[in-house]
């Protein structure tokens, strides 16, 4: 198996981009990534595009070919493949690209993610997102995505000493980081009071516990490590790529407050990289809701079950803490264009490892991790990157 490196990254600003189309967003991110890698389109061997639900959001399918076409590459006949795993679509697209390069079948591969969510109204997007869970046995009875995570939060708070304030601190911390990220959807800092006075969405989760509806795209370029220096002075190595599945329905899980797919994917990733949680300098976790970040920190092995709330309050996960979590602002403040999120996480970690993260730079970052969840935990992709 060949070692793989990231040689270029690109990301659009995230937000409600009413003036941009799905195609515009993708071309913008893809062009940035190619320019960053200093390559031309003809050098690309394959493309993998993470996208959850273009069929529902913009009534367009056949996304792989569409992306290749609007990137100006239709006549180059590059294999272009759409990858779908709900909100983990981007993480899985990255993993497919890593596998393609590692196998030796392809050399230069683009992994991208894109979602255009604001072309439909809130009710329609809530319904589309509910398709990440079991439509027949969860969505049918009125389960929404925030509702499912709210049931996780109630279960967790029943079992462990997590306070409502500690949960709010996850959002406060991520908005602080997002305010230092030029592409973030939300650039304002908030307080615990902001979270606790926001409207209830699904008890106990309030509006500021939830990631927003977002348009955006991100792209990265991969190459074999032994060729990476032909393109860049700052290649970032892919040290591990892991993926795990679990039941699609939340009600069928062994433990509602543990995402077993995260536990398994995390262990596989650490094993592949030959590292432990203590070796990780920063991590981008899937905080679609504040409770999700609490679960992720524990399920990835950064602390014991039940401790993440207290450690968040004590500052462990802050930019200057022992383990900065979601330096990009996370899904919460950076925004969550569902298919693009997994690639944006890689974009953020690569910037941090190159020392190019500006006001949110983690001093001396050498090893970073990404954690991307589909549905309520039915798919998880974990990657470890290092310099």
């Amino acid at each position: 198996m060949r070692e793989v490196a990231v040689i270029g990254i690109g990301c659009t600003p995230f937000g409600e981009k009413w003036g941009s189309s799905f195609r515009d967003l993708f071309v913008q991110a893809g062009t940035l990534a190619l320019e960053d890698a200093g390559i031309s389109g003809e050098e690309i061997g394959a493309m993998y595009v993470g996208n959850m639900s273009a069929g529902r959001f913009i009534e367009q399918e056949h996304i792989g070919a569409l992306i290749a076409d609007y990137s100006g590459l239709a006549t180059a006949h590059i294999p272009s493949t759409r990858v779908e795993a709900a909100c983990a679509s981007g993480g899985l697209a990255f993993r497919q690209a890593v596998i393609a390069v590692a196998s030796g079948i392809e050399d230069i591969v683009v992994a991208a993610g894109v979602e255009k969510m604001t072309d439909v109204g809130t009710g329609a997007s809530v319904d589309a997102l509910a398709g990440a869970a079991d439509r027949e046995w969860e969505g049918f009875v009125g389960a929404t995505f925030p509702g499912l995570y709210a049931m996780i939060a109630h279960d967790y708070m029943h079992k462990y000493p997590l306070t409502r304030e500690e949960l709010a601190m996850v959002a406060v911390k991520n908005h602080y980081n997002g305010a230092r990220n030029p592409i973030a959807q939300f650039s304002q800092e908030i307080t615990v009071e902001t979270v606790l006075s926001s409207p209830l969405v699904a008890d106990p989760l309030r509006l500021f516990d939830c990631s927003p509806i977002t348009d955006g795209a991100a792209a990265v370029v991969l190459a074999p490590l032994d060729r990476a220096r032909e393109y860049t002075d700052t290649p970032v190595r892919v040290l591990a790529s892991a993926q795990a599945s679990d039941t699609i329905s939340l009600h069928d899980r062994r433990d509602l407050s543990t995402l077993d797919a995260t536990v398994v994917a995390g262990k596989r990733a650490f094993q592949m990289a030959g590292l432990t949680p203590a070796d990780i300098d920063l991590v981008e976790v899937h905080d679609c809701f504040t409770i999700a970040e609490i679960l992720a920190i524990e399920d990835l092995g950064f602390c014991r079950k039940g401790e993440a709330g207290r450690l968040t309050r004590e500052g462990m996960t802050a930019l200057d803490g022992d383990l900065p979590v979601n330096t990009s602002g996370g899904l919460k403040a950076c925004g969550h264009p569902v298919g693009a999120t997994g690639i944006k996480q890689v974009w953020e970690v690569v910037q941090q490892l190159r020392g190019e993260a500006g006001k949110r730079q983690v001093d001396g970052a050498e090893v970073g991790m990404t954690h991307n969840v589909g549905g309520t935990g039915a798919t998880v992709a974990v990657h470890i990157l290092g310099v």
Binding site: V126, V141, G142, A143, M151, L256
Partner: protein, 132 residues
Amino acid sequence: MSSVARFWRKIPQRYNLVGTRCENCGRYYYPPRTLCPQCRRAGRIREHRFSGKGTVVTYTVIRTASEQFEQMTPYVLAIVQLDEGPRLTAQLVCRPEEARIGMRVRPVFRRISADGESGAIHYGTKFAPDTE
């Protein structure tokens, strides 16, 4: 949920809590499964009608819903563990402040949703507090 057949073929399961039991390992499944995840091809799946008595494992109060459920907010959504073991997601027929983890519940037949003004009306099982 526009196709009538898509709902119609699940009527026994949704109206009467009909699930399955694997006669090889004795496990009960609801929602029903046609392949036992425990025994896989060695399993022997039979229909089983659940009594519907159960306990609330966790719950939430949905305040922002999809278009189909917008008119019903706020409503209580829960994961219920049936006494035979399996868990399912369902609405609770109670006031938001009544819901609590550990609450005993019994099944009730209710309207779940409708496909717009002229589409199919979907019925199914909700759960009410069981005071017995």
